[in-house]
Symmetry: C2
Subunit: 323 residues, 2 copies
């Protein structure tokens, strides 16, 4: 059973009306609380050795950081503030105490940087290294930004260059030797969730829909389109890339645009802005936030890409899916 | 690194003062919320194949039920009401869709019986079957019962017979053939968390400390003693056992008392009652709740057992520990 089918089944089968539940499965976080105007956010993820990370290049300190970052990013994507972390680990007996210390150090530093406390967990000795992380965030009185609010005419933005983390992974996989880790390697090893930007966008009521880039924009924007009942068109000329991105892609014989569209685990934000609010983003740009306009929302469904040669193709759900 | 040492490190290192956090690591659940008088409860557990369950005898339906029950039990142990569930699964490719359907069916039925909604999760394909379950509960205006409130002179109670689930596991492990599953087998396969009882005890302010029996009373009561700064003495004559418990133990050449003290995963409640409130428990007994007095809280530390021959021995932390 594919992951998407399984999640669909669970979502249909275990749906339940509850006066304290404001959003269940289907967005970056679920929303619950005593009042709908000030809900708590909660999200969980599992990371498994050789599926989500590779210990040949992922050092334990950065792996600890990334385990937390991936979940904090879901809170950022709704404009919330991450507060509490619960962790479950399964460690094979071969994992050394020193490795564990560094891994815990990474978790601790990430929690400190984002103001989170670890409030629960479980540890088990098994055969396969894996962790699950649950993060609870607060909306602190600001309405969470859902995936479902995009309207035709809204403008699509991303908060950073596309494909950097995906290229970093490809560089590791190809065993390409470098004198020091490039920003692409680091984007894969140690991503930064966009909590401050997500919060500012939510507080300012500047965005109609938002989510984080965990599976590649071709898939993540398709989720926004599906939940909002709209379509989107992106302009290949506008997809932002870091300096030297094309050169590294060419060296690996990779299509730069494909990596930008399909690359997972970027943990940037993709969001839609009503056209009359676009000028309100200037203030954020002045403060140093990167905001790239890459396309717009249209009537219809699915995500399409206008190529540099003018051809338009459907790219919905072509992003990365962990098998 | 042993589980207890790892948890101690995490507890010390990631402790953080937060105005929305009322209890972190160290009790059945963590407590958070906007007001201390009405906190949310949250707890998480991980279950790994061949560590926490054995697919040779654990059918997928009951395994789904038990995955949820184990966590709901932590909410029961603080007197809360379980509300929301988040699940992460790691499935090997060999797991068949039919198995998965039955497993999800067990999860769904357990959630329905206890009024819970599944609000989030993640699925991954890996080599080892494992799940993590996070449960959020509400205190709904009733102060959560902590482990730390026991005082010398309080009476120690348990909510059901001891060792039944542990004996069931031993029966499976011994491959003892039976015409049909005994209540011991079922206590292991499909335990019932004591949500109603926990809630009634908390609402009536009848208990000074409480926790669920997940690692055996020798360990679980030791946690209460440690957190409360007291000791406890149990009377071997008072440890409740199901009919035929001794006979089955004898057939397997097991010491019945050892199984009662050390057996994990019972998911009954152990709680302490101030002596002047003991008569208030009559009402609960009349309603059909089983409440067994097994000992009392004393000055000092640790858990001791008075044997039938009058000898007293220290049994602190002699319960089951998953390696």
């Amino acid at each position: 059973m594919a992951e998407r089918e399984l999640i669909r089944k669970i979502r249909e089968r275990y749906h339940r009306v509850d006066s304290m539940l404001f959003a269940g499965i289907g967005d970056d976080c679920a929303l619950f609380g005593n009042t709908a105007s000030n809900p708590w956010m909660i999200t969980t993820d599992m990371l498994v050795d050789n599926v989500h990370f590779n210990l040949n290049w992922h050092d334990p300190y950065r792996l600890g950081r990334k385990s937390i970052a991936a979940n904090i990013s879901d809170i950022a994507a709704m404009g919330g503030i991450p507060k509490f972390i619960l962790l479950t680990f399964c460690f094979p007996p071969a994992v050394k105490d020193e490795w564990l210390e560094q891994f815990l150090g990474g978790i601790g530093d990430m929690c400190s940087e984002y103001g989170c406390a670890v409030i629960g967990g479980d540890t088990v000795s098994g055969n396969e290294l894996s962790f699950s992380v649950t993060v609870v965030g607060t909306s602190a009185g600001v309405s969470p930004v859902k995936r479902s609010g995009a309207l035709a005419g809204d403008i699509v933005f991303v908060s950073g260059c596309l494909g950097s983390a995906a290229l970093g992974l490809k560089l590791f996989q190809a065993g390409m030797s470098v004198e020091e880790l490039t920003l692409f390697h680091l984007a894969h090893l140690d991503p930064s969730p966009q909590v401050k930007l997500g919060r500012r966008l939510a507080e300012g009521k500047l965005v109609s829909a938002m989510q984080d880039l965990s599976d590649g924009i071709a898939t993540d924007l398709a989720h926004i389109c599906h939940e909002s009942g709209v379509g989107a068109i992106l302009d290949e000329n506008l997809l932002p890339m870091e300096e030297n991105f094309s050169e590294y892609c060419n060296a690996l014989q990779l299509d730069p645009t494909a990596i930008q569209l399909k690359g997972g685990e970027e943990y940037q934000l993709v969001f839609t802005v009503p056209a009359d609010k676009e000028t309100s983003l200037h203030g954020l740009r002045k403060e140093g936030f990167s905001l790239y306009r890459i396309g717009e929302i249209q009537e219809g469904q699915g995500v399409r890409l206008q190529r540099k040669n003018g051809r338009i193709e459907d790219i919905s759900y072509q992003g990365y899916e962990h098998t």
